[in-house]
């Protein structure tokens, strides 16, 4: 296990919480659950950087669960696409390009999203184009589990299979919560893996808050030929502080000052623990 990387995930969480506080709102629960997934992609898996952001051979990422944008902005800042200070200061402010969903006038953001169920078909298009041109690009798309109720997700799933897009990897942030409560109470997903299998996808399960598990899952996705892969990544919504973990109400709750201080303490403690593991 990479202790430094794990410790860094707490730093990034603190940056993300600060961005939300600066903007006066955000989708904190999903930001925290997806953090390791984004970090594994941007720091380990993907061929993407400010230097090659216009290179057709780059890898592509679409944040289909666009509401959880603050952790995405944080990671792009740390990748060097823009400064974290600038993004934090401008987030959700009057006239800002750093709005509450991905905005592709910002360097590093490929596509606008926000309305759910759009990312997978777009990712299919990117993957088909790479195949047509025989480019090495891989395409990643991150969806929320609640998002899977959108019919367009399954239209994209059908076509990903139809065109044998083994350069396409979808990740489901399976945190089991959506705004109204538990995903199984809102709209049953039954055995989600079986659904993806029935649509012809290669399915990998992972611990979405564990870098080693994610590394193995992405390696398997890369190695699998002939079908697209979906990684069902089990995560904890609000991961990092008991104040917000596994609480549906923290989907987009803005921490009070007291909660903020406790969250930052918990994240600091998490970082210390990671370094001392």
């Amino acid at each position: 296990m990479d202790k430094a990387l794990k410790a860094l995930s707490y730093d990034y969480r603190m940056d993300t919480v600060n961005m939300i506080m600066s903007g006066g709102g955000g989708h904190i629960g999903g930001d925290m659950s997806e953090m390791e997934i984004l970090m594994q992609l941007y720091l380990k898996e993907m061929n993407i950087s400010p230097e090659n952001q216009d290179d057709p051979n780059r890898d592509y990422f679409i944040l289909s669960k666009g509401h959880a944008v603050e952790s995405f902005y944080t990671i792009l800042a740390h990748k060097g696409f823009y400064s974290l200070e600038e993004a934090t200061a401008k987030f959700s402010k009057f006239g800002s390009e750093f709005i509450g969903h991905p905005n592709n006038v910002i360097p590093g953001v490929e596509m606008n999203s926000g309305s759910l169920g759009h990312g997978l078909p777009v990712a299919v298009g990117l993957a088909i184009a790479a195949k047509m041109d025989k480019r090495p690009s891989r395409v990643y798309v991150l969806m929320g589990d609640g998002e899977l109720a959108e019919g367009s997700v399954w239209e994209g799933a059908m076509s990903g299979h139809n065109y044998n897009l083994d350069n396409l990897c979808a990740i489901v942030d399976r945190n089991h919560l959506q705004i109204s409560g538990n995903t199984e109470d809102v709209m049953k997903q039954d055995d989600q893996a079986e659904r993806w299998k029935a649509f012809g996808w290669h399915v990998v399960k992972a611990d979405g808050n564990d870098f080693d598990s994610l590394e193995a899952a992405f390696a398997e996705a890369r190695a699998h030929k002939g079908d697209p892969t979906v990684i069902i990544a089990d995560t904890i919504k609000g991961k990092g502080s008991p104040v917000m973990e596994n609480k549906a109400g923290w989907h987009h709750h803005l921490p009070t000052q007291e909660e903020y201080e406790q969250i930052m303490k918990d994240l600091e403690a998490g970082k210390e623990a990671a370094l001392n593991e």
Partner: protein, 310 residues
């Protein structure tokens, strides 16, 4: 009478251009036959993408292809393309600014007796209300060719609506004046300005010929570019006329009539009469029968013009 529908011309142009431009990709949603694009799929299978009956997927995939540098043309019946996948058109195409050309085929009431599910009488209003979306309705096969050739030169989103059936020629091989985003002036007159779009341009022209016989002179503008509307042409020719008439195969709300009325109201106020389909169930019939019934043929438009000028 011409036997070549505008949709067939789109296919012809794309086949010609795809030979040298491998980035041109045509996508259909089980609609290649209806779109007259079977020949493209047969000629360039490697530049064709079938998505099945899934219009949201059609537009999303097109946006992804465009993001990766392709020049996708997504063709599907206008009724489904403009409503079923409206949000993809808004978010993935216009908002994300991807170079997708949305081809709405069998637009308006082309499908006749198939009913409202297959009619697209809201598409101009819907698509025009999306920032960064352009809306074009070519009037005949020659103009359709010029428009598609011009659209291949830019990298911006656009929605193009064509009808299902062949329409009478307005232009010819030798004479088809075309300037991108500028209305074509078919006739100039001083009594009435008739602004028409798509399949309504020919009857508008016919109306002008009928009016001429009765001593009424009409300007006829072929406003194939509904958005961006050629405002300058509307103002110029409205100013020299006593009244303005708009004609469109669309709901009376939010289409060409609404847009022309806004311009005339702001810059050169005078009487404007919008001729459109009714805000109700459209009577069953062929396009010709329906247009005649609602006064959208040459005679009907001429009659309305005379009433407006009284």
């Amino acid at each position: 009478m011409n036997k070549i529908p505008n949709r067939k011309v789109i296919c012809d142009v794309l086949i010609e251009k795809a030979k040298d431009d491998k980035d041109i990709v045509v996508l259909c949603s089980d609609s290649r036959g209806s779109a007259s694009l079977t020949a493209f799929f047969d000629t360039y299978p490697e530049q064709s993408v079938e998505v099945g009956i899934a219009e949201q997927d059609l537009v999303g995939i097109s946006a992804g292809l465009a993001k990766a540098g392709k020049k996708p043309f997504a063709a599907s019946p206008a009724s489904f393309l403009s409503t079923r996948s409206f949000e993809q058109c808004k978010v993935d195409v216009a908002y994300s600014n991807t170079n997708v050309k949305l081809i709405g085929i069998s637009g308006g009431i082309s499908y006749g007796a198939l009913g409202m599910s297959h009619h697209s009488c809201q598409d101009i209003a819907g698509m025009s209300a999306i920032p960064n979306m352009r809306v074009y309705l070519p009037s005949d096969r020659f103009q359709t060719r010029k428009l598609i050739e011009a659209l291949l030169q830019d990298e911006k989103p656009a929605y193009i609506r064509t009808g299902r059936n062949p329409v009478e020629d307005i232009y010819s091989e030798e004479c088809c004046p075309f300037e991108m985003d500028k209305a074509t002036v078919l006739r100039e007159g001083t009594d009435v300005l008739i602004v028409a779009t798509g399949e309504m341009v020919r009857p508008a022209y016919d109306a002008a010929l009928l009016l001429e016989k009765e001593g009424i002179s009409a300007t006829v503008l072929d406003m194939y570019c509904v958005k961006p509307l050629d405002k300058d042409a509307v103002i110029k020719y409205a100013e020299q006329a006593k009244a303005v008439i708009t004609v469109e195969e669309h709901s009376p709300f939010g289409g060409l009539g609404s847009m022309v009325s806004q311009v005339v109201g702001e810059y050169c106020p005078r009487k404007v009469k919008n001729i459109a389909l009714p805000d109700s169930h459209v009577i069953t019939g062929t396009s010709k029968e329906v247009f005649k019934y609602y006064g959208m043929d040459g005679e009907g438009i001429a009659k309305t013009a005379k009433e407006v000028l009284k």
